[in-house]
């Protein structure tokens, strides 16, 4: 039966190419949509996930990263006085206006932190260093946004708010989910860039590092008993809340998931149509097999083997195409992630999709009247 399945499948090369095209199209569409979804979700919580903090303390009611509200730094001292806390740092983020050297204005998201203290720092610094941010009026930006921000090299000068700023380094691959690129600065400078009237004794977040051997959950509980008017999240909780906000309350996630679902539906339809057409072309052969005494189970196996062959070959091609697209996306504004778990999941999905597509044909073959073999 294996031989018949393969020969019938590969015999009509044009039809088989159409089948493979349908599978590749569907899988690549799904990979891109899910990859974008993963990329987006990772992007939204990037600063949290790389913060090296065990706990994030925010003003009560602040449910995600991008809506900060400041509060007194007194809370910082309460935190530092709590047993089990190794370190705690102020951290802020706020939207600002970036004036390019050519005078054009861009919206940015300024991140303020204390350089050199190991909490909330940017990562993947490819030019300059985090320590350079200790210099006055200095900022770090991501090289992805060089063009958008109108800067090319270290030393380029711009204005943020009405304050002078100088690029002292570049990071690589730190994307912003919003259209406003992240700009990293020392805490005090970040206040000057975004809200010069703000007092330095306030903060938008407190990042906490638990002492060795202290469970973040336990520390979270202790801090909750001491602090008022704030919410305390573990890093994972705050990351999850931020991702959930952007993906499911803004509709962005629904859009990409819907597109992925559409890919799946289109894929099943295309593959079902081509497998069905191939089955109908060979319908007399299936009738002959039945007359020869083949059971329905035997016929299912022929069709399912064809579906699995289609799935595996289509998957292989789709992976090649998807890798090109994923690699290209690394240089663009929207990253597409394809972890190995997704690659493995896609193989399972491809097989399930093709078998589902073959069900229409299986149903048809089951109903063949073997007496058809005697008709001309």
């Amino acid at each position: 039966m294996g031989l018949l399945a393969r020969r019938n499948l590969f015999h009509d090369k044009v039809r088989f190419a159409v089948t493979l095209t349908g599978i590749v199209f569907a899988l690549v569409l799904i990979i891109i949509q899910f990859g974008l979804f993963l990329g987006f979700t990772t992007t939204t919580s990037n600063n949290i996930d790389h913060s090296n903090a065990d706990l994030w303390i925010v003003f009560r009611g602040v449910g995600y990263f991008d809506t900060a509200r400041d509060f007194s730094e007194q809370k910082l001292y309460q935190v530092l006085a709590t047993p089990g806390v190794e370190r705690a740092e102020k951290y802020m983020q706020a939207f600002g206006r970036w004036k390019r050297p050519d005078g054009r204005i861009e919206s940015i998201q300024v991140i303020g932190f204390h350089p050199g203290r190991g909490l909330g720092e940017p990562w993947n610094v490819v030019q300059g260093s985090v320590a350079d941010l200790k210099q006055e009026d200095s900022v770090l930006v991501d090289e992805l946004y060089r063009e958008k921000l109108g800067v090319e090299k270290i030393g380029d000068r711009v204005e943020i708010g009405d304050h002078r700023a100088r690029v002292v380094g570049f990071t690589r691959g730190i994307r912003s989910f919003t259209t406003s690129p992240f700009v990293y600065a020392a805490f005090k400078n970040s206040l000057d860039y975004t809200n010069p009237t703000s007092s330095e004794d306030r903060t938008a977040y407190i990042l906490v590092k638990a002492a060795a051997g202290v469970a973040p959950k336990e520390l979270q509980k202790q801090l909750s008993e001491r602090l008022t008017d704030v919410d305390i999240y573990t890093m994972a909780e705050f990351s999850r809340k931020t991702r959930f906000y952007w993906m499911f309350t803004t509709g962005a996630g629904l859009a990409v998931l819907t597109a992925a679902l559409m890919g799946l539906v289109v894929g099943v339809a295309v593959v079902a149509q081509t497998i069905y057409a191939a089955t109908m072309d060979h319908i007399r052969e299936y009738g002959t097999l039945k007359a020869m005494g083949a059971t329905n189970r035997y016929l299912y196996r022929v069709l399912i083997e064809q579906a699995v062959w289609s799935a595996v070959l289509g998957y292989g091609l789709a992976m090649i195409v998807a890798h090109f697209i994923v690699d290209a996306s690394a240089k663009g504004g929207a990253v597409i992630l394809m972890p190995w778990s997704m690659s493995a999941g896609m193989l399972v999905l491809a097989v399930v999709m093709c078998i589902a597509a073959a069900l229409v044909s299986i149903n048809k073959v089951t109903r063949i009247d073997p007496a058809m073999v005697f008709r001309g």
Binding site: M1, L289, K290, G293, A294, A371, R375, G376
Partner: protein, 259 residues
């Protein structure tokens, strides 16, 4: 010398088949009685719509009779559930079709091996048996040819080899010579006759082809779903001097066939 095989392999009693479409009803077969014996080549003749193919389909267990009793090798197939019929077809029956019904994407040997595969025989055993069967029908050298590269007669011989894959005691053939020229047709009918006479199989063949009349041991004539005439060939072997291409029509055979 022809071997004597008197074993009854098919016993049909009162077979009827009614096709219904809405209120309309068509009686394709009406109370047909037929016994088929091993070692005999039985020809079923009759005009179009007389019920020959319906009867062949019922005898082949691919169509159920509306009424009557059918025994294949002593087993009452009418009482078997639908799912058991493929087993009867695998174990007892081989089919030969007018249009050959070979699998175009498989070679001659693979076509035969597929019939073995359906019976759970695979690998080198199936390959060897496939080649043996092709040798039996005189096509050993065409084992690796695809159907498109074979003549009509060769295709039909591959189909016969395939029908023999399960070593069935019964061969049912639906107009196997209709699409063939006289030489190929003669080769095929001689092969079917040999399978009956020398191998002891019961061969039932639906035909319109007057050229094959002399080869049958028995002629069953159907009209309007009934067996209206049954003749038996008085000769034990066909006349070696008769020509396949010049065989007389049934009407002129009274001196050679007895009722």
């Amino acid at each position: 010398m022809r071997q004597v095989h008197s074993k009854q392999v098919i016993r049909a009693k009162g077979l009827s088949k009614i096709y219904r479409e809405g209120a309309a009803e068509f009686r394709a077969l009406q109370s047909v009685d037929l016994d088929v014996h091993a070692g005999e080549l039985t020809l079923m003749m009759g005009p179009s719509g007389s019920g020959k193919t319906t009867l062949l389909s019922i005898l082949g267990c691919i169509l159920r009779a509306s009424d009557g009793r059918l025994e294949i090798l002593g087993e009452d197939v009418g009482s078997l559930p639908e799912g058991e019929l493929p087993r009867i077809r695998r174990e007892a029956i081989g089919f030969v079709f007018q249009a050959f019904n070979l699998f175009p994407t498989l070679t001659a040997a693979e076509n035969v091996a597929l019939a073995l595969d359906v019976r759970g025989i695979r690998g080198p055993v199936a390959q060897k048996r496939g080649e043996e069967l092709l040798a039996e029908v005189g096509l050993a050298q065409k084992a690796r040819s695809f159907p498109a590269d074979l003549s009509g007669g060769q295709k039909q011989r591959v189909a016969i080899a395939r029908a023999l894959a399960g070593d069935p005691p019964i061969l049912l053939a639906d107009e196997p010579t209709a699409a063939l020229d006289s030489t190929s047709g003669r080769t095929v009918i001689e092969l079917l006759q040999r399978l009956a006479h020398e191998h002891g199989r019961a061969v039932v063949m639906v035909t319109h082809d007057p050229r094959v009349l002399l080869f049958g041991d028995r002629i069953v004539h159907l009209e309007d779903g009934r067996i209206v005439k049954e003749k038996r060939n008085v000769q034990t072997r066909r006349d070696e001097t008769s020509s396949f291409g010049e065989a007389p029509m049934a009407a002129g055979l009274s001196n050679q066939f007895s009722i």
